[in-house]
């Protein structure tokens, strides 16, 4: 669908000529995010402020053109992909940190502010912003809020929604609203709560007010090896069963450790079946006590080669291995397909063995690197996109893994979002009535369906993946 020249002209008037891209060749460059599927927008529009965002959405609304907000395009579920064409609303020009209030411990930022940039600035006040997705060097706070992003430290601190106090949003009719606020309780429905994580299907975000936390005075980071994934999984449950919720509790399997060690030389034990990275923070007495207790629990569960970071530089190195793990897998194959299903923590051994079997069945290497404390998997199916034959195999393997997650009582996504890639699987966990209730919200706020269409809800127009037709595991059948 091409946009009418008059629409392009209107958009140019709204944001300025040079901030509308409509050359078809250039639009192709915007067709993907960090997931696999792509589709080019009909125009890329770069507003500078909320008034321009509102003007653009009004034009879209009048002409019934899809609007898909886009930050850095680091999302892993296709949230920023313009699958029905339309306008890619690129918010990357809106990247000012408007205010940091060290007394109230809040920050007000524009949506294009990069997650790590906020942390850098907050650090000058001895504060930090807790959600730390692995893409934090590039991903934007607007995107984080839209997707309700997580990260390793969300085990203790909670995910994005627990840190967003309020937002300025533009709805599908172009109207501008403040939702949420600084006060702990507010009168009325929690619009902010439902808009965070709505994946751009209800609103465009133009400002975000977030909570900042005091930087803990002491941090301790421990790397421990385990002979098998099962042993490491049991150790994870045991740590938490002991009443300790670490700041982060991450697992990497042997495939990942091999790739990471080759790239970062962080001293990860390459003979291990799995490696855990455990971090606690607080005052010095607390980290010392907790780490001593954790070491004991890990040792009781066959942990060995335990190594505690002795300096901030060593801690950074240990984390560099974890945060760069997915990229380092590029050493094995140039592409990865990554789901982020969540299982109840106690089911980790079962799901990991199921994931392994699926990999073997499809003859595809699989590397696991994930937030073990949350039960939030990240099985990376490794392949080479240039091999055209392999892609359907990869997608099938991914589906089967997600299916296994659901059969163990899990969820489709812990932090990446449903987006495009998992929308067809929603009936696995939600009944028609459940989905209808969610659609009530969608229709109440976006009657014409122009905001990020084709996401979250199963799309009858799209080809159904081969397992997607299966139902019967909806939450009600399983456990209510």
């Amino acid at each position: 669908m091409m946009l009418a020249p008059s629409v392009i002209e209107e958009l140019r008037r709204a944001v300025g000529k040079e901030f509308v891209i409509d050359s078809s060749n250039d639009l192709r460059i915007f067709e993907r995010d960090a997931s696999i599927e792509g589709c080019a927008p009909d125009a890329v529009v770069l507003p500078a402020n909320v008034a321009e965002v509102s003007a653009v959405i009004k034009i879209a609304s009048k002409n019934r053109i899809p609007v898909v907000a886009r930050g850095a395009g680091t999302g892993l579920s296709g949230g920023a992909v313009t699958i029905r064409g339309g306008i890619a609303l690129q918010v990357t020009r809106m990247r000012r940190i408007l205010e940091i209030d060290p007394v109230a411990q809040t920050a007000l930022v524009e949506p294009g502010v990069v997650n790590q940039e906020l942390s850098l600035v907050a650090a000058t006040h001895k504060l930090f912003y807790a959600p730390d997705p692995s893409s934090q060097k590039a991903c934007t706070i607007g995107g984080n809020a839209a997707e309700n992003s997580g990260g390793p430290h969300c085990l203790y601190y909670g995910v994005t929604t627990n840190h967003v106090l309020g937002m300025e949003v533009v709805l599908a009719d172009g109207s501008v609203h403040w939702v949420g606020g600084d006060a702990p309780d507010r009168v009325g429905l929690d619009l902010c709560g439902v808009l965070v994580g709505s994946e751009g299907t209800l609103c465009a975000i133009t400002k975000v007010k977030v909570r900042l936390l005091r930087t803990p005075p002491s941090v301790a980071t421990l790397l421990a090896a385990f002979p098998t994934i099962e042993a490491a999984s049991q150790a994870v449950s045991a740590v938490i069963g002991h009443g300790i919720v670490p700041a982060a509790l991450e697992m990497m399997d042997s495939v990942t450790v091999g790739a990471v060690e080759a790239h970062y030389h962080a001293g990860y034990p390459t003979d291990a079946g799995a490696v855990l990275l455990v971090e606690v923070d607080g005052i010095a007495e607390s980290t010392l006590e907790l780490m001593t207790a954790i070491r004991k629990v890990l040792a009781d569960h066959h942990g060995y080669a335990m190594r505690e970071a002795q300096s901030p530089a060593e801690r950074d190195l240990l984390w560099a291995g974890r945060k760069g793990a997915i990229g380092a897998l590029g050493r094995i194959k140039p592409n990865y397909y990554l789901h982020d299903g969540v299982v109840p923590r106690s089911r980790l051994p079962q799901i990991l063995s199921a994931v392994g079997e699926i990999g073997v069945h499809y003859k595809l290497p699989v590397a696991n690197v994930f937030h073990a404390g949350d039960g939030n998997l990240h099985p990376n199916i490794l392949f080479d996109l240039r091999d055209r034959e392999v892609l359907p195999q990869v997608e099938s393997a991914g589906e089967e893994m997600l299916r296994a997650v659901v059969e163990l009582g899990g969820a489709l996504s812990g932090e990446h979002g449903i987006g495009l890639e998992k929308s067809a699987f929603m009936p696995w966990v939600f009944s028609e009535d459940d989905l209808d209730a969610m659609k009530l919200v969608k229709h109440a706020l976006d009657a014409h369906g122009i905001m990020n269409p084709g996401k979250i809800f199963p799309d009858p127009e799209r080809k159904m993946p081969h397992l997607a037709g299966r139902t019967g595991l909806a939450i009600e059948a399983k456990w209510w």
Partner: protein
């Protein structure tokens, strides 16, 4: 000569990009424009489409390749190890082969080739001025910036050897290069002095030419190969432990483009930290900040050593800016060829530099030095710019 389109672009290199986007905010042009098309990921995607026939080559889209600074900050943050430097040089080279050059680009390339191929053409200060005019460097003057005040050209000692001070522990070769001896002779002098203090006998190969970095970075890989052949004849059979380079762009090029020298090319700071300097006698009371030269920090991954050297001087206080490893917008000829984008990047850099309230901003590359000097002057700042060697040598001049 190849007939296959985009033959220089290696498909395996392109395939290493997993499209994760972690490079985006490291890219100065993305930070300025917020556009995928002006990001490393976008450029790789574009070149991949060209290579695989997904998009036709157009001059409009070639602009995205032009706008890349080649700073390689993206390469340093890339978890997948994408060889972006190699990809963009190949891409540039293809672009230059395919499109009709603009008069400015044609002039720049021709002038560069002519000037850099024959060292005597660069021998006088007059030649520099002419060169500046030929390659369009005068546009710097028009935009309120200037070349540094010209000093007498750097002269290697007679006999081509500077002896070690104290017992001789190492024998090293020194890259005199093309631009440094004319624009920043004092950096070379300081560098040589430090090498001598570190017990190095410094050899200046007479027949050495420009390393070819400026040509390669601007898409003239053939010209760069010719210079490499000339230089390798000089280096191949000579006896030296290391080839010391005090200009980051040259160091990066030598490390990437001269496989025969593998492991022997060393940045000055890298080498000095390795072999050790004597304890300085003097104190330098000064607040300084450090600007990572892209070709040092990203292409060579050297960030720690220059800082270690700076911190080793008694009295010096090193204040980091927020983004010391983001490009200043100089990028070789970039500031000439893309003055508008270069100026935008420079302004952001100047804000960051000035916020440190340092007396001196220290760096390790002539291009950065020039760019920062003219920028600071245009802001009316008295902050000075020095090469790492110049700062460090002060501690030994008492």
């Amino acid at each position: 000569m190849t007939t296959q389109p985009f033959a220089r672009l290696n498909d395996d290199d392109l395939a290493t990009c997993v499209h994760c986007g972690l490079c985006l905010d490291a890219c100065p042009t993305f930070r300025q424009t917020g556009l995928e098309t002006e990001s490393p990921r976008g450029r790789i995607y574009l070149m991949t489409q060209w290579k695989r026939g997904g998009l036709p080559f157009t001059e409009d889209q070639a602009r995205h390749i032009d706008l890349c600074l080649g700073c390689r900050t993206c390469e340093a943050v890339c978890p997948s190890g994408v060889p972006y430097g190699r990809i963009i040089e190949a891409g540039r080279s293809e672009v230059e082969h395919i499109r009709r050059p603009t008069p400015k680009r044609w002039l720049a390339r021709t002038a560069l080739r002519q000037l850099l191929a024959k060292p005597r053409r660069l021998r006088t200060a007059g030649a520099v001025t002419r060169a500046a005019q030929k390659v369009g460097l005068t546009s710097l003057v028009r935009s309120g910036r200037q070349l540094p005040a010209l000093r007498p050209r750097f002269q290697p000692p007679a006999g081509g050897i500077a002896p070690a001070i104290g017992p001789r522990k190492h024998r090293v070769a020194f890259l005199v290069g093309c631009v440094m001896p004319i624009l920043y002779p004092q950096s070379h002098e300081a560098a040589v002095k430090l090498l001598q203090l570190a017990g190095c006998e410094v050899w200046f190969p007479r027949a050495e030419r420009c390393c070819g970095a400026l040509l390669a970075h601007n898409g003239d890989l053939d010209g760069a190969e010719r210079l490499r052949d000339v230089n390798m004849q000089v280096y191949r059979d000579s006896n030296f432990e290391a080839l010391i380079v005090d200009s980051a762009g040259c160091g990066a090029h030598l490390k990437d483009f001269y496989p025969e020298l593998e492991g022997r090319v060393k940045d000055l700071s890298e080498w000095l930290v390795d072999v050790g300097l004597p304890t300085p006698a003097g104190e330098v009371t000064m607040r300084v900040t450090y600007q990572d030269a892209c070709h040092l920090a990203h292409a060579q991954r050297i960030k720690k050593q220059p800082r270690d050297l700076i911190r080793s001087i008694p009295g010096v206080e090193l204040v980091e800016m927020r983004h010391p490893d983001i490009c200043c917008g100089a990028a070789g000829l970039y500031s000439t060829l893309e003055p508008a984008m270069s100026a935008r990047i420079l302004q952001e850099k100047l804000d960051d530099v000035l916020s440190t309230r340092a007396e001196v901003v220290v760096t390790g590359n002539p291009g950065c030095q020039m760019q920062l000097e003219s920028g600071l002057r245009s802001r009316g700042s008295t902050m000075r710019v020095e090469h790492v060697a110049e700062l460090v040598v002060r501690a030994f001049l008492h």
